[in-house]
Symmetry: C2
Subunit: 314 residues, 2 copies
């Protein structure tokens, strides 16, 4: 199926990084299989961070290798440094999302590095990638956390964000993600920032990562769509959060995002009925977590067939 | 203060029409006083429907008269027929929101009339208004439920909605509200429909009434804003619902709507801190209801001062 927009599941990474319950590898892989079966085209399936920082991801190599055996999605992972990228490449991962924060204070808190040091890690990853022929086609995505505000520094100047986009591109990033890590953005700010980022990136894709902390997650998707964004992160039931925004609710809800996009006539390729299994696995694995979302309970509008399902029926 | 946009509180009407608990008049009036103190410019404070249909509104005259003594907001009421309008006018109300559904099936279920019969009721209200000099300046708003879809009939054709807007205007409506009663709409549908409705209405205001049943309430506000809408209904904690959409969540949340508008640079004149008292009264009065919304818990972004508060400080 031709998809008009890529929805990327981040429940197994962003969604798990703050939860108190350790989810066993076999459950994570069952979760990943359910995501694949629902037609999600891309999944951030784990994070290669030191186990002493986030114990949940101690099994990153096992998860990455296990996921790569599941047909369907592009399996990508988050890494904060060169070492993480090396583990990911060794596991066979074909797309790496490198993260740093535009806010200096947030980057220090999150990865204990200056932004200059983080960019140097990214430079080393680009070198590493070119060191083996089998890594040549691996996609490197440059992710910018706190692109629309920071709980530590407050306002983050768009000019600084765009200069970081430029820096990533100059170093060799194949794609960009701009993240509203703490749910500060509003639609017109989003529209403006992504408009300029897309101009800088040319033909390289620019993804959006929104948190729904202040209720504007899907409103901000509207701003991003209008700017031309065609890649969106979301998680099952809105799982996720930032360690430096306590009490904040998480990512935008995958089911609701898919409904928005399909109602706007954009094919996601996702089967919402099959996606129910993902939610079921996640709710069983994380009984103490709060799950968000409305479309799952309310059902689709009477007489509405999502464009993805229309094509599937043809 | 100059307001850029009107937010209208409908918690005391839409928010109460389905709840199981009868809220005593003194509590409703305390609620109305708290809404006024928070700077809300317009309030739909009750509904003049027969008590045998909705017992909650048996005290409509008492509430209307009591609210009119509270300085600040424009106090308006919902009416489904001429008789209700007469009660409202006798109580001293200066703005009447007449409701009918674009969907023939929904109008039958809701008010047991054909849409032709409902328009005839509206015609009689226009006549009634001109029958006494003191009623001459009363504002008549024509509201169209199910303007973006119907749980009974499914798709509702935009051409039919616009022909109903035209009919209201020809009969003498001073304002229009288009309602997504059951939460079926998406932003571009909203944008298109309101764009045309605003063209038909000329200088007469067009309000938007969105339900968040499928999570797109605030996303649809973005579509409506872009079309030029500057009047929005919302309720405290998202209370509300439609009797013909069981299990549906309610209106968009007032606090989150105000945050969206202020973050977009539009002055609402609402003080979110003072609005907390409204939520407090509503939660105490309705312990069995679910309250929605995020900004109240998450707080405003660091360093962000709403435009309304900036002006208040000057």
């Amino acid at each position: 199926m031709q998809r008009d927009v890529i929805v990327r599941e981040v429940g197994l990474r962003d969604g798990l990084q703050l939860v108190k319950t350790f989810v066993p590898a076999e459950t994570k892989l069952a979760w990943a299989r359910a995501v694949a079966a629902a037609g999600i085209p891309e999944v951030e399936v784990t994070s290669f961070v030191p186990a002493k920082v986030i114990a949940q991801f101690a099994d990153a190599t096992e998860i990455a290798k296990g996921a790569l055996k599941i047909p369907g999605p592009l399996w990508c992972v988050l890494v904060p440094n060169r070492k993480g990228a090396e583990f990911a490449l060794d596991a066979g991962i074909r797309k790496i999302n490198f993260v740093l924060s535009v806010s200096e204070g947030h980057n220090q808190s999150n990865v204990r590095k200056t932004t200059d040091q983080s960019f140097d890690e990214f430079r080393q990853i680009v070198e590493l990638k070119s060191s083996k022929p089998e890594w040549k086609d691996v996609v490197l995505q440059g992710c910018l956390a706190t692109s629309l505000g920071c709980t530590i520094e407050g306002h983050v100047p768009p000019d600084r964000v765009l200069s970081f986009v430029d820096r990533y591109l100059s170093l060799g990033a194949d794609e960009i993600t701009l993240a509203d890590t703490v749910g500060y953005a509003s639609p017109s700010e989003v529209g403006n920032l992504f408009h300029h980022a897309i101009r800088l990136a040319g033909k390289k894709p620019v993804y959006a990562h929104f948190h729904d902390t202040r209720g504007l997650g899907l409103a901000n998707v509207v701003g991003a769509l209008e700017a031309g964004v065609r890649g969106f992160d979301a998680s099952t039931g809105g799982l996720g959060g930032c360690p430096f925004a306590p009490g904040a609710s998480g990512n935008i809800v995958m089911e609701d995002l898919v409904f928005l996009l399909e109602k706007e006539g954009l094919k996601t390729g996702v089967d919402l009925e099959r996606y129910r299994a993902v939610r079921g696995i996640a709710e069983k694995a994380l009984p103490e977590e709060k799950f968000y979302g409305t479309i799952r309970e309310a059902g689709l509008p009477k007489g509405f067939t999502p464009p993805s399902r229309q094509e599937a029926a043809e």
